[in-house]
Protein backbone atom coordinates (compact mmCIF):
# COMPACT_ATOMS: atom_id res chain seq x y z
CA UNK A 1 0.00 0.00 0.00
CA UNK A 2 1.66 3.20 -1.15
CA UNK A 3 0.66 6.86 -1.52
CA UNK A 4 1.95 6.68 -5.08
CA UNK A 5 -0.75 4.17 -5.97
CA UNK A 6 -4.42 5.05 -6.26
CA UNK A 7 -7.26 3.05 -4.72
CA UNK A 8 -10.79 3.28 -6.06
CA UNK A 9 -13.89 1.38 -4.97
CA UNK A 10 -16.98 0.57 -6.94
CA UNK A 11 -20.23 1.65 -5.31
CA UNK A 12 -21.46 -1.85 -4.44
CA UNK A 13 -18.24 -2.49 -2.52
CA UNK A 14 -18.59 0.85 -0.73
CA UNK A 15 -22.09 -0.11 0.44
CA UNK A 16 -20.65 -3.24 2.04
CA UNK A 17 -18.77 -1.00 4.45
CA UNK A 18 -22.11 -0.31 6.15
CA UNK A 19 -23.08 -2.60 9.00
CA UNK A 20 -26.88 -2.70 9.27
CA UNK A 21 -28.29 -2.33 12.77
CA UNK A 22 -31.37 -4.50 13.27
CA UNK A 23 -34.21 -2.54 14.96
CA UNK A 24 -35.22 -3.99 18.35
CA UNK A 25 -38.60 -5.25 17.14
CA UNK A 26 -36.92 -7.56 14.60
CA UNK A 27 -34.20 -8.97 16.82
CA UNK A 28 -36.23 -12.07 17.67
CA UNK A 29 -35.98 -13.14 14.01
CA UNK A 30 -32.19 -12.97 13.97
CA UNK A 31 -29.37 -14.39 16.00
CA UNK A 32 -27.40 -11.16 15.68
CA UNK A 33 -28.09 -7.50 16.41
CA UNK A 34 -26.69 -6.41 13.07
CA UNK A 35 -26.44 -7.62 9.48
CA UNK A 36 -22.92 -7.77 8.21
CA UNK A 37 -22.48 -7.86 4.42
CA UNK A 38 -20.12 -10.37 2.89
CA UNK A 39 -16.50 -9.06 2.81
CA UNK A 40 -17.43 -6.23 5.19
CA UNK A 41 -14.48 -6.81 7.50
CA UNK A 42 -11.81 -7.06 4.84
CA UNK A 43 -13.12 -3.94 3.08
CA UNK A 44 -13.14 -2.04 6.35
CA UNK A 45 -9.60 -3.20 7.01
CA UNK A 46 -8.46 -1.76 3.67
CA UNK A 47 -10.28 1.54 4.28
CA UNK A 48 -8.82 1.80 7.79
CA UNK A 49 -5.31 1.11 6.48
CA UNK A 50 -5.70 3.76 3.76
CA UNK A 51 -7.02 6.28 6.29
CA UNK A 52 -4.21 5.53 8.70
CA UNK A 53 -1.62 6.22 6.02
CA UNK A 54 -3.49 9.29 4.80
CA UNK A 55 -3.95 7.80 1.33
CA UNK A 56 -6.96 9.07 -0.64
CA UNK A 57 -9.79 6.75 -1.57
CA UNK A 58 -11.79 7.30 -4.73
CA UNK A 59 -15.33 6.60 -5.89
CA UNK A 60 -16.93 7.24 -9.24
CA UNK A 61 -19.61 9.87 -9.85
CA UNK A 62 -22.35 10.15 -10.75
CA UNK A 63 -23.10 6.94 -8.88
CA UNK A 64 -26.11 4.66 -9.15
CA UNK A 65 -26.74 4.76 -5.45
CA UNK A 66 -30.47 4.02 -5.56
CA UNK A 67 -30.10 1.06 -7.92
CA UNK A 68 -27.10 -0.33 -6.04
CA UNK A 69 -28.72 0.11 -2.63
CA UNK A 70 -31.87 -1.72 -3.77
CA UNK A 71 -29.71 -4.53 -5.16
CA UNK A 72 -27.70 -4.65 -1.94
CA UNK A 73 -30.85 -4.94 0.19
CA UNK A 74 -32.24 -7.68 -2.04
CA UNK A 75 -29.02 -9.64 -1.66
CA UNK A 76 -29.18 -9.29 2.13
CA UNK A 77 -32.83 -10.35 2.34
CA UNK A 78 -32.40 -13.30 -0.02
CA UNK A 79 -30.67 -15.12 2.83
CA UNK A 80 -33.00 -18.02 3.60
CA UNK A 81 -32.04 -17.97 7.27
CA UNK A 82 -34.00 -14.80 7.79
CA UNK A 83 -37.70 -15.35 8.48
CA UNK A 84 -39.09 -11.90 9.19
CA UNK A 85 -42.66 -12.47 10.31
CA UNK A 86 -43.85 -8.91 10.97
CA UNK A 87 -43.65 -5.69 8.99
CA UNK A 88 -41.29 -7.03 6.34
CA UNK A 89 -41.75 -4.00 4.07
CA UNK A 90 -40.81 -1.69 6.92
CA UNK A 91 -37.70 -3.73 7.61
CA UNK A 92 -36.59 -3.36 3.99
CA UNK A 93 -37.17 0.40 4.18
CA UNK A 94 -35.21 0.62 7.43
CA UNK A 95 -32.18 -0.92 5.74
CA UNK A 96 -32.50 1.60 2.91
CA UNK A 97 -32.62 4.42 5.51
CA UNK A 98 -29.39 3.21 7.08
CA UNK A 99 -27.65 2.87 3.73
CA UNK A 100 -28.77 6.36 2.77
CA UNK A 101 -27.49 7.86 6.05
CA UNK A 102 -24.23 5.97 5.65
CA UNK A 103 -23.82 7.16 2.08
CA UNK A 104 -24.56 10.79 3.00
CA UNK A 105 -21.81 10.75 5.61
CA UNK A 106 -19.38 8.93 3.37
CA UNK A 107 -19.09 11.67 0.75
CA UNK A 108 -16.47 13.56 2.70
CA UNK A 109 -14.28 10.48 3.05
CA UNK A 110 -13.96 9.54 -0.61
CA UNK A 111 -12.70 11.70 -3.46
CA UNK A 112 -14.73 11.75 -6.64
CA UNK A 113 -13.66 10.63 -10.08
CA UNK A 114 -16.01 11.85 -12.82
CA UNK A 115 -17.20 9.05 -15.09
CA UNK A 116 -16.41 9.61 -18.77
CA UNK A 117 -19.20 8.94 -21.23
CA UNK A 118 -17.06 8.58 -24.32
CA UNK A 119 -16.60 4.79 -24.31
CA UNK A 120 -16.66 3.61 -27.94
CA UNK A 121 -12.98 2.48 -28.11
CA UNK A 122 -13.32 0.75 -24.73
CA UNK A 123 -16.44 -1.07 -25.85
CA UNK A 124 -14.66 -2.30 -28.98
CA UNK A 125 -11.90 -3.82 -26.88
CA UNK A 126 -14.41 -5.73 -24.79
CA UNK A 127 -16.28 -6.91 -27.88
CA UNK A 128 -13.05 -8.09 -29.51
CA UNK A 129 -12.06 -9.94 -26.35
CA UNK A 130 -15.49 -11.23 -25.29
CA UNK A 131 -15.41 -13.77 -22.47
CA UNK A 132 -17.97 -16.23 -21.19
CA UNK A 133 -18.92 -14.89 -17.75
CA UNK A 134 -20.47 -17.03 -15.03
CA UNK A 135 -23.19 -14.78 -13.55
CA UNK A 136 -23.26 -11.65 -15.69
CA UNK A 137 -23.92 -10.89 -19.34
CA UNK A 138 -20.67 -11.33 -21.29
CA UNK A 139 -20.11 -7.70 -22.22
CA UNK A 140 -19.85 -5.15 -19.38
CA UNK A 141 -22.55 -2.50 -19.01
CA UNK A 142 -21.96 0.95 -20.48
CA UNK A 143 -21.79 2.32 -16.94
CA UNK A 144 -18.90 -0.06 -16.15
CA UNK A 145 -17.09 1.31 -19.17
CA UNK A 146 -17.57 4.92 -18.05
CA UNK A 147 -15.77 3.90 -14.85
CA UNK A 148 -12.91 2.37 -16.80
CA UNK A 149 -12.68 5.46 -19.02
CA UNK A 150 -12.51 7.72 -15.96
CA UNK A 151 -9.89 5.66 -14.20
CA UNK A 152 -7.83 5.12 -17.37
CA UNK A 153 -7.53 8.90 -17.80
CA UNK A 154 -6.79 9.53 -14.12
CA UNK A 155 -3.18 10.43 -13.60
CA UNK A 156 -1.36 8.35 -11.01
CA UNK A 157 2.34 7.97 -10.27
CA UNK A 158 2.26 4.23 -9.84
CA UNK A 159 -0.41 1.52 -9.82
CA UNK A 160 -4.17 2.10 -10.06
CA UNK A 161 -6.31 -0.36 -8.12
CA UNK A 162 -10.05 -0.80 -8.53
CA UNK A 163 -11.71 -2.84 -5.79
CA UNK A 164 -14.85 -4.52 -7.06
CA UNK A 165 -16.81 -7.75 -6.81
CA UNK A 166 -18.48 -7.11 -10.16
CA UNK A 167 -17.74 -9.94 -12.57
CA UNK A 168 -17.74 -7.44 -15.42
CA UNK A 169 -14.49 -6.17 -13.92
CA UNK A 170 -12.79 -9.21 -12.40
CA UNK A 171 -13.89 -11.44 -15.28
CA UNK A 172 -11.85 -9.19 -17.57
CA UNK A 173 -9.03 -8.33 -15.18
CA UNK A 174 -6.22 -9.23 -17.63
CA UNK A 175 -7.79 -7.34 -20.52
CA UNK A 176 -8.39 -4.31 -18.27
CA UNK A 177 -4.83 -4.35 -16.95
CA UNK A 178 -3.22 -4.76 -20.37
CA UNK A 179 -5.33 -2.18 -22.14
CA UNK A 180 -6.14 0.38 -19.45
CA UNK A 181 -3.44 -0.14 -16.86
CA UNK A 182 -5.95 -0.75 -14.06
CA UNK A 183 -5.47 -3.52 -11.50
CA UNK A 184 -8.80 -5.13 -10.62
CA UNK A 185 -8.89 -6.54 -7.11
CA UNK A 186 -11.77 -8.69 -5.92
CA UNK A 187 -13.05 -7.87 -2.44
CA UNK A 188 -12.03 -11.20 -0.98
CA UNK A 189 -8.52 -10.77 -2.36
CA UNK A 190 -7.92 -7.22 -1.33
CA UNK A 191 -5.76 -8.14 1.65
CA UNK A 192 -3.07 -8.55 -1.01
CA UNK A 193 -2.82 -4.78 -1.40
CA UNK A 194 -2.34 -4.09 2.31
Amino acid sequence: MSPENSYAFDECSILKLCKIKIPESYRLFFKEDSLIPRNHYILNKIVAALDKKGISKYKFVPGNFEQNAVLHVNQILENKRYQIRILGESFRAQIIDQLEDFYDELHANFKDLEKINSITPIKEIFIQNEKELIKEKNIPEDDDMTIIAAYRDFSCESKKYLISEDEHFWGYKDIILNNFNIHIIRERECEAIL
Binding site: E24, S25, L28, V70, I86, L87, E89, S90, R92
Partner: protein
Protein backbone atom coordinates in the same frame (compact mmCIF):
# COMPACT_ATOMS: atom_id res chain seq x y z
CA UNK B 1 -34.52 11.62 10.07
CA UNK B 2 -35.43 13.44 13.25
CA UNK B 3 -34.68 16.90 14.65
CA UNK B 4 -32.93 17.03 18.02
CA UNK B 5 -34.41 19.26 20.72
CA UNK B 6 -31.96 22.08 19.97
CA UNK B 7 -32.51 21.79 16.23
CA UNK B 8 -36.27 21.98 16.70
CA UNK B 9 -35.99 25.00 19.02
CA UNK B 10 -33.68 26.79 16.57
CA UNK B 11 -36.11 26.00 13.77
CA UNK B 12 -39.11 27.61 15.50
CA UNK B 13 -36.99 30.52 16.74
CA UNK B 14 -35.57 31.05 13.25
CA UNK B 15 -39.07 31.15 11.77
CA UNK B 16 -40.57 33.36 14.49
CA UNK B 17 -41.00 37.13 14.32
CA UNK B 18 -37.77 38.91 15.41
CA UNK B 19 -36.27 35.41 15.89
CA UNK B 20 -37.52 35.32 19.44
CA UNK B 21 -40.33 33.68 21.41
CA UNK B 22 -41.81 35.50 24.35
CA UNK B 23 -42.41 32.61 26.78
CA UNK B 24 -41.84 28.94 27.47
CA UNK B 25 -45.58 28.28 27.05
CA UNK B 26 -45.50 29.70 23.56
CA UNK B 27 -42.31 27.80 22.70
CA UNK B 28 -44.02 24.62 23.87
CA UNK B 29 -46.99 25.24 21.61
CA UNK B 30 -44.90 26.15 18.58
CA UNK B 31 -42.78 23.02 18.99
CA UNK B 32 -45.90 20.89 19.25
CA UNK B 33 -47.17 22.59 16.10
CA UNK B 34 -44.27 21.09 14.11
CA UNK B 35 -46.16 17.81 14.40
CA UNK B 36 -48.96 19.25 12.30
CA UNK B 37 -46.39 19.86 9.58
CA UNK B 38 -45.13 16.26 9.95
CA UNK B 39 -41.69 17.31 11.12
CA UNK B 40 -40.23 14.62 13.38
CA UNK B 41 -38.73 16.06 16.56
CA UNK B 42 -37.07 14.29 19.42
CA UNK B 43 -39.51 15.59 22.04
CA UNK B 44 -42.39 13.77 23.65
CA UNK B 45 -45.68 15.52 24.14
CA UNK B 46 -48.63 14.66 26.29
CA UNK B 47 -52.06 16.12 25.87
CA UNK B 48 -53.88 17.88 28.64
CA UNK B 49 -56.99 20.03 28.53
CA UNK B 50 -54.90 22.93 27.21
CA UNK B 51 -53.28 21.03 24.37
CA UNK B 52 -49.93 19.33 23.77
CA UNK B 53 -47.19 19.97 26.30
CA UNK B 54 -43.77 18.77 27.32
CA UNK B 55 -43.10 19.26 31.02
CA UNK B 56 -39.31 18.99 30.60
CA UNK B 57 -39.10 22.13 28.49
CA UNK B 58 -39.57 24.32 31.55
CA UNK B 59 -36.07 23.35 32.65
CA UNK B 60 -34.45 24.79 29.52
CA UNK B 61 -31.43 27.02 30.06
CA UNK B 62 -29.41 29.28 27.77
CA UNK B 63 -26.93 27.43 25.59
CA UNK B 64 -24.72 28.12 22.57
CA UNK B 65 -27.73 28.32 20.25
CA UNK B 66 -30.25 30.45 22.16
CA UNK B 67 -30.46 32.50 25.30
CA UNK B 68 -33.16 33.04 27.88
CA UNK B 69 -33.72 36.71 28.64
CA UNK B 70 -35.90 37.59 31.68
CA UNK B 71 -38.51 40.37 31.57
CA UNK B 72 -41.37 41.52 33.79
CA UNK B 73 -44.98 40.91 32.73
CA UNK B 74 -48.00 41.39 35.03
CA UNK B 75 -45.78 41.21 38.13
CA UNK B 76 -44.19 37.98 36.99
CA UNK B 77 -40.70 37.31 35.67
CA UNK B 78 -40.90 35.55 32.33
CA UNK B 79 -38.10 34.29 30.11
CA UNK B 80 -38.09 34.98 26.43
CA UNK B 81 -36.00 32.91 24.04
CA UNK B 82 -33.65 34.64 21.63
CA UNK B 83 -31.78 32.94 18.79
CA UNK B 84 -27.98 33.39 18.88
CA UNK B 85 -25.73 33.51 15.76
CA UNK B 86 -24.69 29.88 16.34
CA UNK B 87 -28.40 29.04 16.48
CA UNK B 88 -28.93 30.76 13.14
CA UNK B 89 -26.19 28.58 11.69
CA UNK B 90 -27.85 25.48 13.09
CA UNK B 91 -31.18 26.71 11.71
CA UNK B 92 -29.63 26.94 8.22
CA UNK B 93 -28.04 23.51 8.56
CA UNK B 94 -31.35 21.91 9.63
CA UNK B 95 -33.11 23.32 6.60
CA UNK B 96 -30.37 22.31 4.23
CA UNK B 97 -29.57 18.82 5.47
CA UNK B 98 -32.80 17.59 7.05
CA UNK B 99 -35.94 19.49 6.03
CA UNK B 100 -34.82 19.49 2.44
CA UNK B 101 -35.39 15.74 2.34
CA UNK B 102 -39.02 15.91 3.42
CA UNK B 103 -40.43 19.33 2.56
CA UNK B 104 -41.13 20.85 -0.83
CA UNK B 105 -40.65 24.60 -1.24
CA UNK B 106 -44.40 25.07 -0.79
CA UNK B 107 -44.37 22.92 2.37
CA UNK B 108 -41.56 25.02 3.79
CA UNK B 109 -43.32 28.30 2.92
CA UNK B 110 -46.43 27.04 4.65
CA UNK B 111 -44.42 26.06 7.75
CA UNK B 112 -42.61 29.41 7.75
CA UNK B 113 -45.80 31.44 7.45
CA UNK B 114 -47.62 29.36 10.02
CA UNK B 115 -44.91 29.53 12.72
CA UNK B 116 -44.27 33.22 12.03
CA UNK B 117 -47.95 34.06 12.29
CA UNK B 118 -48.43 32.01 15.47
CA UNK B 119 -45.34 33.53 17.08
CA UNK B 120 -47.15 36.89 17.03
CA UNK B 121 -50.22 35.55 18.90
CA UNK B 122 -50.67 35.12 22.66
CA UNK B 123 -49.92 31.55 23.78
CA UNK B 124 -53.54 31.02 24.82
CA UNK B 125 -54.72 31.52 21.23
CA UNK B 126 -52.38 29.02 19.63
CA UNK B 127 -53.73 25.58 20.46
CA UNK B 128 -57.39 26.34 21.03
CA UNK B 129 -58.53 24.11 18.20
CA UNK B 130 -56.22 21.16 18.91
CA UNK B 131 -58.71 19.07 20.89
CA UNK B 132 -61.48 19.68 18.38
CA UNK B 133 -59.29 18.68 15.50
CA UNK B 134 -58.05 15.51 17.21
CA UNK B 135 -61.33 14.47 18.95
CA UNK B 136 -59.63 14.08 22.32
CA UNK B 137 -62.58 15.24 24.43
CA UNK B 138 -65.11 12.77 25.82
CA UNK B 139 -67.90 14.60 23.97
CA UNK B 140 -66.23 13.63 20.69
CA UNK B 141 -65.63 9.99 21.65
CA UNK B 142 -68.26 8.63 19.26
CA UNK B 143 -66.69 10.53 16.35
CA UNK B 144 -63.23 9.32 17.34
CA UNK B 145 -64.33 5.68 17.29
CA UNK B 146 -66.10 6.16 13.97
CA UNK B 147 -63.01 7.78 12.56
CA UNK B 148 -60.62 5.04 13.67
CA UNK B 149 -62.93 2.40 12.20
CA UNK B 150 -63.10 4.18 8.85
CA UNK B 151 -59.35 4.76 8.75
CA UNK B 152 -58.64 1.11 9.55
CA UNK B 153 -60.93 -0.11 6.78
CA UNK B 154 -59.36 2.35 4.33
CA UNK B 155 -55.91 1.12 5.30
CA UNK B 156 -57.00 -2.50 4.86
CA UNK B 157 -58.07 -1.66 1.29
CA UNK B 158 -54.70 -0.07 0.63
CA UNK B 159 -52.75 -2.87 2.26
CA UNK B 160 -54.48 -5.39 0.00
CA UNK B 161 -53.11 -3.54 -3.02
CA UNK B 162 -49.53 -3.39 -1.81
CA UNK B 163 -48.26 -5.90 -4.37
CA UNK B 164 -49.12 -3.48 -7.15
CA UNK B 165 -46.18 -1.33 -6.03
CA UNK B 166 -42.78 -2.31 -7.43
CA UNK B 167 -40.01 -2.36 -4.84
CA UNK B 168 -37.17 -1.38 -7.16
CA UNK B 169 -36.92 2.28 -6.12
CA UNK B 170 -36.68 4.11 -2.80
CA UNK B 171 -40.09 5.64 -3.42
CA UNK B 172 -41.66 2.21 -4.02
CA UNK B 173 -39.95 0.63 -1.01
CA UNK B 174 -40.97 3.46 1.32
CA UNK B 175 -44.51 3.58 -0.03
CA UNK B 176 -44.96 -0.15 0.60
CA UNK B 177 -43.49 0.29 4.09
CA UNK B 178 -45.71 3.26 4.83
CA UNK B 179 -48.89 1.45 3.80
CA UNK B 180 -47.98 -1.70 5.73
CA UNK B 181 -47.04 0.28 8.84
CA UNK B 182 -50.11 2.54 8.75
CA UNK B 183 -52.35 -0.51 8.39
CA UNK B 184 -50.98 -2.14 11.55
CA UNK B 185 -50.77 1.18 13.38
CA UNK B 186 -54.44 1.89 12.62
CA UNK B 187 -55.30 -1.55 13.95
CA UNK B 188 -53.37 -0.79 17.15
CA UNK B 189 -55.09 2.59 17.53
CA UNK B 190 -58.47 0.99 16.93
CA UNK B 191 -57.90 -1.48 19.77
CA UNK B 192 -56.66 1.32 22.00
CA UNK B 193 -59.45 3.82 21.33
CA UNK B 194 -62.16 1.17 21.66
CA UNK B 195 -61.01 0.66 25.25
CA UNK B 196 -61.35 4.33 26.22
CA UNK B 197 -64.01 5.05 28.77
CA UNK B 198 -66.35 8.02 28.73
CA UNK B 199 -64.28 10.48 30.74
CA UNK B 200 -61.44 12.60 29.34
CA UNK B 201 -58.46 10.51 28.29
CA UNK B 202 -56.15 11.54 31.12
CA UNK B 203 -53.37 9.35 29.79
CA UNK B 204 -53.68 10.92 26.37
CA UNK B 205 -50.47 10.66 24.47
CA UNK B 206 -50.21 13.16 21.69
CA UNK B 207 -48.94 10.71 19.10
CA UNK B 208 -52.01 8.43 19.41
CA UNK B 209 -54.24 11.24 18.24
CA UNK B 210 -51.84 12.80 15.79
CA UNK B 211 -51.08 9.50 14.05
CA UNK B 212 -54.76 8.83 13.52
CA UNK B 213 -55.22 12.39 12.26
CA UNK B 214 -52.34 12.09 9.80
CA UNK B 215 -53.14 8.59 8.57
CA UNK B 216 -56.65 9.72 7.74
CA UNK B 217 -55.28 12.74 5.91
CA UNK B 218 -52.95 10.68 3.69
CA UNK B 219 -55.32 7.90 2.59
CA UNK B 220 -56.19 9.58 -0.71
CA UNK B 221 -52.52 10.41 -1.35
CA UNK B 222 -51.56 6.75 -0.79
CA UNK B 223 -54.33 5.61 -3.14
CA UNK B 224 -53.13 7.97 -5.81
CA UNK B 225 -49.47 6.93 -5.34
CA UNK B 226 -50.33 3.25 -5.76
CA UNK B 227 -51.78 4.02 -9.18
CA UNK B 228 -49.13 6.38 -10.51
CA UNK B 229 -45.76 5.32 -11.91
CA UNK B 230 -44.28 8.73 -11.22
CA UNK B 231 -44.07 8.47 -7.44
CA UNK B 232 -43.63 11.56 -5.25
CA UNK B 233 -40.52 10.53 -3.28
CA UNK B 234 -40.30 13.66 -1.16
CA UNK B 235 -43.91 13.52 -0.04
CA UNK B 236 -43.74 9.77 0.61
CA UNK B 237 -40.55 10.35 2.57
CA UNK B 238 -42.20 13.06 4.66
CA UNK B 239 -45.05 10.77 5.76
CA UNK B 240 -42.71 7.79 6.16
CA UNK B 241 -40.23 9.70 8.34
CA UNK B 242 -42.95 11.13 10.54
CA UNK B 243 -45.12 8.06 11.03
CA UNK B 244 -42.43 5.37 11.17
CA UNK B 245 -39.24 7.04 12.31
CA UNK B 246 -40.24 9.95 14.53
CA UNK B 247 -41.11 7.95 17.64
CA UNK B 248 -38.54 5.18 17.63
CA UNK B 249 -38.28 3.84 21.16
CA UNK B 250 -40.63 6.52 22.51
CA UNK B 251 -43.98 5.03 21.64
CA UNK B 252 -45.36 1.50 22.09
CA UNK B 253 -46.02 0.96 18.39
CA UNK B 254 -42.42 1.51 17.35
CA UNK B 255 -39.83 -0.49 15.44
CA UNK B 256 -37.57 -0.09 18.46
CA UNK B 257 -40.04 -1.83 20.80
CA UNK B 258 -38.90 -5.42 21.25
CA UNK B 259 -42.51 -6.44 22.00
CA UNK B 260 -43.94 -4.90 18.85
CA UNK B 261 -44.80 -8.36 17.50
CA UNK B 262 -47.36 -8.73 20.29
CA UNK B 263 -49.06 -5.45 19.31
CA UNK B 264 -49.08 -6.46 15.66
CA UNK B 265 -50.62 -9.85 16.49
CA UNK B 266 -53.33 -8.62 18.89
Amino acid sequence: MILSKDEAICLVLGLSAKKEISSITKLNKLLARLNLHLIPINLDFDLNKFGSFNADLKNLESNEYYELSPYEYKDKTINKFILKPEGEQLFGKVIHSKLNKILTEEDFESLKNNINELSRLPASDISNNEHKMLFVDAADRHTLIQKVNIVHVDMLDLYEQIDKIPSDTFAGIRLRALIEYCFYLSKYLKEKFMRLRDEYDFDAYMFDYYFLYHIQSIVSFLNQQIETEDKDLKQINKYYQYIINSVKGRYPFSLENKDLHRLVAQ
